[in-house]
């Protein structure tokens, strides 16, 4: 429900000043027409107060009822009707009140001569007030709608980001559990260690919130946890080479951003070749960005990585777009049999 404009202090003050100015002007005008100052003051105060009360009433009423269609006809008729009522009320109050006075001007005749002008002025005032009120409420309504739309969009965006972050590959989980199952008989100590690593990984996956950016050092630790699990699964086929410039370690980035990129590189690398695979991860500063490159081998004869985004990077691309509203933070590069994914994270200064 929109607030009435007269409920705000500033606008109420303006409204009252307006009333005072009109009243003063009317007093001067009536004195100019030869009425005594007492009559002029009474006439002005009574008629302007009636107008003010009607305007306040009208504006307040529009809070509860504002026609959607035909609102300008509504304004016209309500202003005309209300002006008529005000004028009748003025006459009913003022004529008996001021008739007896022995004035140089006969008030009854004066009132009946001036009724058209009075009606004009009252109509202008009431119409003006109703138009202003309509505009006021329309803009309030508009603002409320916009707020609602923004809220809905924000919620949708958060939900989507949450979903994009939560894409823990079930394949990874079940295969890891299967490895643990195999280790339990032969190497129970290592099985226990892997359960620990998998738990830490899952905990990290559950806990992180989008807004809480993490330092690169923490993200790299998390990545190593993940890579250690994968190395148990794939044995000697998988090796990694992580290099990070020291000044990058404190840079911050959204949580769980690198893991899906590395997961993609492993999947792509390990399932596209039968040889041993090295996944290289490099991090360095690049102006105001942290630039992270993840490199994996592939077989150019059988796979055709498409330029831009290929191979399961669309969800990362989408996430970066939702976070930064930029489509250019994720790139891929192909040289011979190496596929490189490059992600740049802007740093807040």
């Amino acid at each position: 429900m929109a607030r009435s404009p007269l409920s705000t202090g500033k606008l109420l003050l303006i409204f009252l000043s307006w009333w005072a100015i009109w009243a003063f002007l009317q007093i001067s005008l009536l004195i100019g027409f030869g009425l005594s100052s007492g009559t002029a003051v009474t006439d002005s105060l009574v008629s302007n107060s009636l107008v003010a009360i009607s305007c306040a009433f009208l504006s307040n009423n529009m809070q509860y009822y504002l026609p959607k269609k035909e609102r300008y006809w509504y304004i016209l008729f309500i202003s005309l009707g209300l002006s008529g009522i005000i004028l009748l009320a003025c006459k009913a109050i003022l004529v008996p009140l001021l008739d007896d006075k022995t004035d140089s001007v006969n008030y009854v005749i004066f009132f009946s001569r001036s009724w058209a002008v009075r009606f004009d002025i009252v109509f202008l005032q009431v119409a003006c007030m109703s138009i202003l009120s309509v505009l006021w409420y329309s803009s309030e309504e508009e603002q409320e709608n916009r707020q609602r739309r923004n809220d809905a969009e924000r919620l949708a965006k958060e939900a989507e980001l949450f979903k994009l972050r939560q894409q823990l590959a079930p394949h990874f989980l079940f295969n890891s559990l299967n490895s643990i199952s195999a280790l339990i008989a032969s190497r129970p100590e290592q099985a226990r260690k892997m359960i620990q690593q998998l738990s830490d990984f899952l905990r990290g996956n559950l806990r992180k919130e989008e807004q809480q950016w993490v330092p690169l050092s923490e993200e790299l630790q998390y990545l190593e946890l993940y890579l250690d699990i994968e190395k148990v699964r794939f044995g000697h086929r998988l090796s990694t080479d992580i290099r990070c410039e020291d000044e990058c370690l404190g840079m911050r980035l959204p949580p769980m951003l690198l893991q899906p990129i590395v997961e993609n590189a492993i999947k792509f690398g390990l399932y596209d070749t039968t040889e041993a695979v090295t996944i290289a991860i490099r991090a360095r500063l690049d102006g105001n960005y942290v630039r992270i490159e993840v490199e994996n081998p592939f077989d150019p004869e059988t796979s055709r990585p498409k330029k831009g985004t290929g191979f399961g990077l669309t969800s990362i691309q989408r996430r970066l777009y939702l976070l930064f509203a930029r489509p250019d933070l994720l790139e891929t590069r192909v040289d011979n049999n190496l596929f490189t994914t490059i992600v740049r994270i802007p740093q807040q200064i």
């Binding site: 079930p170 394949h171 989980l173 079940f174 295969n175 559990l177 299967n178 490895s179 643990i180 199952s181 195999a182 280790l183 008989a185 032969s186 148990v232 699964r233 794939f234 044995g235 086929r237 390990l270 399932y271 596209d272 070749t273 039968t274 077989d299 004869e301 059988t302 055709r304």
Partner: protein, 277 residues
Amino acid sequence: MTINTNSNPIGTNSIPAGTTPGPIKAIIIDDEPLARSIVSEYLQAWPQIDVVQECNDGFEGIKAIQHHHPDLLFLDIQMPKINGFEMLELVEQPPAVIFTTAFDEYAIKAFESHAVDYLLKPFNKDRFDKAIQKWLDQRAPNPPSATPAPTSADATEQLLETAAQSPAQQQRVVVKTGGKIKIIPLEDIHFLEAADDYVKIHTHNGAFLKNRTMSWFEKALDPSQFVRTHRSYILNVQQVTRIDPYEKDSHLCILQSGAKVPVSKAGYVKLKAVLGL
């Protein structure tokens, strides 16, 4: 039936006297060493089954199958280069298969619709023993031999047909040429031609044979990209440059490579629909 894992299962499946069956030969194909080790560990309780080889991927798997002629395969689906289904496609007369997979919605759906036994990783010993026992029971009526029970071979065939329609496999075709395995991306295929029991796949790099039927390909390939224009031909619509009228009701399609592919009356209707003419 209940399975007592402590008893020796061979006692429950007596081998007919007079035959001298060798041990049952099994091959484990999985790219994860620990996943293979758990299968061989569980198999220690089945002394009649002998693991003759463990393989890292489908390439090794095909060689091992040709070399050993096993009775039973333990086969993972997701593997490097070619997956378990594609490997089976390349094996003539594939042996009985117990699939082992962690998570692959499509594969599981395929298994279920063809009642093929499969083990979801991680699986326990009871579940594993049940699968082995079921397989042994199925083959019991037949004398143990190098060829598996016909029912399981049929089931495998149907399974492969379904599996070929999976999103992953719709991107490529795997063929064997000489001793080598070749993976052909679909966009490289010009057209397919029936050739007796085989289908000849014409590509940028020459032609390859695959021992599948035309209708198998027709089902497996994306119908918006590949159209069966003739009883003996399926063509890649992206390769079409021109369609010329040819005798009577038939047409001839000219491809970018210059090849001419016959188009029957019914095929012409299908082709026009796909090309949006």
